[in-house]
Amino acid sequence: MTRVPGKGRVDLSQPVEFTFDGKTFRGGKGDTVASALLANGVHLMGRSFKYHRPRGPVAAGSEEPNALIGTRRGPGRYEPNTRATVQEIWQGLQTNSQNKYPSLKFDIGAVNDAAYMMFSAGFYYKTFMWPKNFWHKVYEPFIRAAAGLGVSPTEEDPDTYASRNLHCDVLIVGAGPAGIAAAKAAAGQRVVLVDENAEAGGTLLSEPQAVIDGVPAWDWLASELAALKAAGVKVMTRTTAIAYYHQNMVGLCERLTDHLPTLPADTPRERLWRVRAKQVILAQGALEKPLVFNGNDRPGVMLAGSAQTYLNRYGVLVGKMPVVVTSHDSAWYAAFDLQKAGAKVQAIVDLRGTVRDDLLAEAKLLGIPVKLSHTVTATSGRLRIRSVRVNPTSPGKVGARVEIACDALLMSGGWTPSLHLFSHTQGKLTWDAGRTTFLPAATPEDCVIVGASAGAWGIEAALRAGAAAFGGTAPTVEHDRTGSGVSQVELPTDLNAGRAKAFVDYQNDVTAKDLRLAVREGMSSIEHVKRYTTNGMATDQGKLSNINGLNIAADALNRRQPEVGLTTFRPPYTPTSFGAFAGYHRGTHFEVTRKTQIDSWAAENGAVFEPVGQWRRAWYFPKTGETMDAAVLRECRSVRAGVGIFDASTLGKIEVVGPDATEFMNRMYTNPWAGLKPGRCRYGLLLGEDGYIRDDGVIGRMSQDRFHVTTTTGGAARVLNMMEDYLQTEWPDLNVWLTSVTEQWSTIALNGPHAAKLLAPLVEGVDLTDEAFPHMSCVECTVAGMPARLFRVSFTGEIGFEVNVPAPMGRALWEVLWKAGQQYGITAYGTETMHVLRAEKGYIIVGQDTDGTVTPHDAGMSWAIGAKKPDFVGKRGMARPDLVAKGRKQLVGLLTEDRSRLEEGAQIVFDPDQPIPMKMVGHVTSSYLSDAVGQPIALALVEGGHDRMGQTVHIPMPDRTIAAKITGAVFVDPENARLKL
């Protein structure tokens, strides 16, 4: 055990057991998997992505690139690539290492490491270029199988996920000293303070030596947090601000159960918060920069600040005889803390020639050997570091090495402000040459970035910056640790740099020489270097690697860093589960399923449903053992011979009311409306400005100033929006208003020779005769005692009525009609039969027989155009040269010579013997078996189709080519004799 008594915040009196690769380990409440394994002396936690090199944690927080593990909580609850430095342990947690076979300690894939010279930058592009056809069949599958991290879960996720909206005055991201001070100063407003860690405090958790306002840091932290909560500040831990969107909308992912030994009822695993904040304070701190040297990825090599965190926050000594290598003052404090906790620090190796006197004095006092102007050139040890190779440096020279035995190597290349969310705002950065880092400048959002993420260094500076955001004052801090450093590229070495395994991006296994090779091969922008080498493109998004990558690329290019550029950070800040993004929208709640009032009857009577837009509609009503084809043929036959009943409630309905209603209708639809008398209906065709068909439907004039417009089911919302758009922007002078009444009415269609006989006894207020109520009439009346709008219309070619009653009465009316219809053999039919019956009559379905490029002429519907009208939407579009040109695809009927049913979407050619690729001249839009015609029928769009009646076209299919004769689109009763009573 390497746990230091009296150190850290882990409660060892509450032991927690978990497994790693099947072996049981013990930690305490408050441990992460990483801290608990380190406390057990385990540094080796995984294998790397490309070379399968042994790796251990290099950091202690969410920036960790190496220690990625799988976590399991019983069946279904497996997650790959979880950062061991973030996952808290709980009794019974099962974890495993990744990217190893057969075992973590002996891995076959590590041969890649020996062959590392092959796997240089651009390796894939170069190696797998030839032969060309090998890419899809051989190379890509192999690479995909070999590469990647972890294994995707295969079971369905049994957890639930949630989402919520939250509005606040101030959102503060990061509950370190800067964030806490800002929250305190902003008190009185609606303040939300979030932190990705299990507990708030940030740096303070790792620096207990600080004394704030005379109070030890941890006591100060506890009382401040209590005071904030008492003041109404919403403090959220385990909550990562993953993305910063426009206008201060910030996405938060809150992890609710991943740390709990038992899952509480009714509690989601994660919750995505959509926060709209008046002001955002970014206080995300800084990330420590690794040093780039040969062997800097060996287990035991770790960031110095992280070692300090493991000691002070978790009470874990990461090594008993560590060496520190640094070019920044902060690592000296790590050395001091570890030495005081019982470690024997073997040496502080500092790249710099001069270091602050107080640091040297303290090192001397503690008996730590110091090597200034020294470099690290290599490390040894297979699964854990055993020694480090250290050489003196002088300008341009590297002296003779010494080998220092050690069990940990703590490194610090300085600190990089965390600018990820700031970058999401499109915030501008400025280059600070003195500190070799980018600092935040202006952002278009109402956002302030404070503390270490804005370059302020030390607890007091952070407190001051946080408080200043709201004009507050900050407490004084004793034992604050400020410092500075000198940025490095690759550390100077006496070895062949071309063979160095000096890692820049640990997660994607990108080395310094890869970056230099990329520059030599012509990549001159960091964006190109990044894509060529994959530096910064792993799941950690280059939190540790971007700045080192930039410095090395800039050095290779001999340019200043800002001229080489910084890659853009993109959301999410840390990997986020799909579940969190989906929230409640999965399973039955995936998307709204709209059902009509009659849907329940259909379900009770065995209907098979199909989705139409958001609606689910009865597709057909099979009897026991009946196939779909048989059911549809039976339904069709029953309608044509008797009477059928159909739920048409989903049709869009718009009430158009006002003195200018007629004028509005004239301008919107192609048809003329002025001559339509109240009580009559007309088929209406709606175009876009381009002259193409957008929607259609029957429109009834209920009174002089009131139209009852119907639209297609899927087009209802779109048509209303289009109408409102014209009304509000083009014709605000018209006195007319639109109201959606789609759901005001349940609409039941009765079709068939017996329809009038069935309905007539139930109707009060109108006689259902050809004289009193001819085809294309409408009236307000009473049906079965219910207030109704009755339409005599037909989408089947049979005598047809559509009864609209207030929606909640729909099922009651249906049942009345069903009962009354028994004597006529009434048959319920679904959308498929409706489609067949209308196709037999050549009635189009917008969106099926049209595809957004079909004009009324193409569809054979020139009759629907009010030629005398001065204008309507689409009139000028229809006159465009290519819309009046010869040879357009036109809607025709097709009858196959072999009487087979064509496949909808099948392509059509004129000459089946032409060489492939053939010239396609159209496609089948609708195709059905037809009882009435006695053979299958189809509608198709065919080039110049209207002038090709009687000609034969060919439909090549995988197994054969089908010949079909072009016919008119009306297959049944072209004289409309059947519409008469």
């Binding site: 909206n165 059902k595 009509t596 109201t739 005001q744």
Partner: protein
């Protein structure tokens, strides 16, 4: 006109210690559209139509510069009174009683329950006002009657989806408080 929706029965639909969602009794609903001088309509309706969006009076809420939703036990006299002034003061009065239902949402965490589906800041809706907004993809009218009591008008076909969300939310919020 507005009998029970086939899928729901008036009464409590979802409840927990955090909030209760129930279905209100059927009522008459009219969508009114008009512009210009409203005094004739005010006279016909026997009320002064509110003119600020979100503002309410006893039975009407203003939803847009020319749009109101009226709730009434009996719409017949309203329809007749408005028809009588139509010639001189054209407007659109459309019966939408059958189009939608009203959910009553109340309880100590009713406002928070709404945040599961509504992006709008619930805190910014004063008691006695209302808003047309979107809840989990559905257009709704939200009436705030007390700090922890709301009504939500929603079209029939969207109601089961919203109710499902509220059932989940009632349980989730109750578990959170426990």
């Amino acid at each position: 006109m507005n009998k029970a929706v086939s899928s729901f029965v008036p009464g409590v639909l979802a409840t927990s210690t955090a909030a209760t969602v129930s279905l209100a009794a059927p009522m008459g609903r009219l969508s009114l559209r008009a512009r210009g001088d409203l005094s004739a309509l005010d006279a016909a309706l026997g009320m002064t139509l509110p003119t600020r969006i979100g503002q309410r009076n006893a039975g009407a809420i203003c939803l847009g510069p020319d749009e109101w939703m009226l709730h009434a036990d009996d719409i017949v006299p309203i329809v007749a009174a408005c028809a009588a002034i139509y010639e001189g003061h054209p407007h659109s009065l459309t019966d939408v009683s059958g189009r939608e239902i009203t959910l009553l949402i109340e309880g100590p965490r009713a406002a928070e329950l709404l945040t599961l589906g509504c992006a709008r800041d619930i805190d910014s809706i004063p008691v006695g006002e209302g808003r047309r907004t979107v809840c989990d993809g559905a257009t709704v009218i939200l009436w705030r009657d007390a700090p922890d009591r709301f009504r939500m008008d929603v079209w029939h076909s969207f109601a089961p989806h919203l109710l499902h969300l509220f059932e989940t939310g009632c349980r989730e919020l109750a578990a959170e408080a426990a």
